[in-house]
């Protein structure tokens, strides 16, 4: 769906193409350039050399506002977006900016507030909601535009287990040939469950691109990107030291349980 290369001093020599139907994870240490990279996607930043093409459009010739139709960006801190008098106005903001008709706006606002279980607060001030509700509101206000590409910046921060489960389900529903989801995160445990393809940046360069399992068990990469391997991956590797047939790519607890049961049976 798009490709880019960049000579930006923060980012160097990147050449990546993202395919629709994927959830792409982006990881790396603080300052590696993750935010710089995703900001290229919706035009907040333009490459100094090279180009970024989003759905065939060159970002250097398009404004962020125009790209907002195709690219939704949910920032890390919901409080950096909320400002309106009511939830309705908050969700309608992007739609108004993008010149949707009044009927369309009302329709979408209602649908998305419903989707995120916020309808009862429709006329309330966004600031009265709880932390988790504000985050859902921020998501709703970006998703109502129905962008093809969605960027989530650290969505699991300070979320409890149930909230993370819901997020996972939501991300799953976004996985279809029309959409791309880019997940910027530190949360290795979440990434290994959610992500199909993992990109790792370090000091402005792409040091890994591919299977989350392989990458998240590579000590060199983990070290450079200041990441810890997910516990399941550590577990699998340690068992595989004694029993080489143990699968290394277990992503969920259920997969691991299966593998362990299999191991026990095979050793009888």
């Amino acid at each position: 769906m798009f490709e880019y290369e960049s000579g930006h001093p923060v980012l160097r020599g990147l050449n990546v193409e993202l395919e629709p139907g994927q959830v792409v994870g982006l990881m790396g240490e603080n300052g590696a350039g993750k935010t710089t990279l995703v900001k290229q996607i919706n035009g907040l930043l333009k490459p100094t050399t090279g180009a970024v093409y989003v759905d065939g459009v060159d970002t250097r010739e398009t404004s962020t506002a125009q790209l907002a139709k195709k690219v939704g960006f949910v920032f890390q801190n919901a409080d950096h977006q909320l400002f309106a008098d009511s939830l309705h106005a908050e969700v309608a903001f992007a739609l108004r900016n993008l010149d949707f008709s009044k009927e369309e706006i009302d329709d979408r606002v209602a649908r998305y507030l419903e989707l995120f279980e916020l309808t009862r607060y429709k006329d309330q001030s966004p600031f009265l909601l709880s932390g988790g509700e504000r985050k859902r509101l921020a998501l709703a206000s970006v998703l109502c535009v129905e962008p093809k590409i969605l960027i989530l910046d650290e969505p699991t921060q300070a979320q409890d287990a149930l909230q993370k489960e819901k997020l996972l389900k939501f991300m799953d529903s976004f996985r279809d040939p029309e959409h791309i989801l880019v997940l910027v995160t530190h949360d290795v445990e979440f990434a290994i469950k959610a992500v199909d393809r993992l990109l790792v940046l370090s000091q402005g360069q792409l040091i890994a691109d591919g299977s989350p399992h392989q990458i998240l068990s590579n000590p060199r990469i983990l070290d450079r990107a200041r990441l810890l391997p997910p516990q399941l991956t550590q577990f699998a590797h340690k068992l595989a030291e004694q029993f080489p047939e143990f699968p290394l790519n277990v992503a969920t607890v259920s997969e691991a349980v299966e593998a362990v049961n299999q191991l026990i049976r095979s050793q009888r």
Binding site: K39, N42, L44, S63, T64, A65, A68, K69, V71, G72, F73, F75, N77, D79, H80, Q81, L82, F83, F93, A94, N97, L98, F127, S141, V142, V145
Partner: protein, 259 residues
């Protein structure tokens, strides 16, 4: 236009001026300002202005000061035109000179005094700790809030906000989605900071101690004496001589453009 602020941005350097106690620098800045305000004539103002240049040089901050002067050019041009039209070109020039003198006097202070030392100086001058601390914290959080403003702007632009769109009124309203999150965020931050302060016994005693102390040295007394003498002399010339014995003043003192 924001280049104006360059001359007020502190940079840590190892110069005589940077080594002075902030109270000294403050006294010098105030003295220069008063002297600048005392005179309306072009030549004396020019002399005052020229006498401040060595100090800027001593502080090794000429480049920053120059940048500010350039930023000041717009304001200066505006003043020049208005005053020339309504009063006289001579008067306009002297007004601009006064502006430059004032700006340079205070830039000398802000260029060479570290914000926390300024807070310490305020405390030494018996300003209540809370005010000095509030000032010090405000300075400390400026970079934080600046970064946050950029993030907020990015977030709203990602939702299709176009800051340049519409007429003048519309353009101002476009900033509301940026201002409100900044304000809300700052309030939240203030609460969190307050909790942290309370948790570390802030305001618990009236006799607060401090790790660092400001001491006046010989160089400080020396400079303050120089500034005091200059101020006294200027006051004498401005009030006594000019009013009572104007004939004592040389002709060039009153020189001005014939228009």
């Amino acid at each position: 236009m924001t280049a104006i602020f360059e001359a007020f941005r502190f940079k840590q350097k190892d110069t005589f001026m940077h080594g002075l106690d902030p109270r000294t620098t403050f006294f010098m800045a105030v003295s220069f300002s008063i002297i600048g305000m005392l005179f309306l004539q072009i030549i004396p103002l020019l002399l005052v202005f020229l006498s401040m240049i060595p100090f800027i040089l001593l502080a090794r901050s000429t480049r920053q000061w120059f940048k500010s002067l350039r930023g000041l050019a717009y304001l200066a041009g505006f003043i020049l035109i208005i005053n020339s039209f309504f009063i006289s070109f001579s008067f306009a020039i002297s007004t601009v000179l006064r502006l430059v003198v004032l700006m340079t006097a205070f830039s000398l202070f802000f260029l060479t005094v570290h914000p926390d030392d300024f807070a310490l100086a305020l405390i030494k001058m018996h300003i209540p700790y809370e005010f000095a601390f509030a000032f010090s914290m405000a300075v400390r959080y400026v970079p934080t809030i600046a970064t946050e403003t950029e993030t907020i702007r990015d977030a709203q632009m990602s939702r299709g906000l176009e800051l340049e769109r519409g007429n003048v009124i519309q353009k101002v309203r476009n900033y509301i989605p940026i201002l409100i999150p900044i304000i809300v965020s700052s309030i939240r931050r203030a609460l969190q900071v307050a909790e942290s302060l309370e948790s570390r016994a802030f305001g618990s005693t009236a006799t607060r101690t401090s790790l660092y102390d400001l001491k006046l040295r010989k160089s400080d007394y020396g400079m303050m004496l120089v500034a005091a003498v200059a101020l006294a002399f200027a006051l004498y010339v401005a009030f006594v001589v000019r009013i009572q014995f104007p004939y004592l003043l040389p002709d060039w003192f009153f020189w001005g453009f014939p228009f």
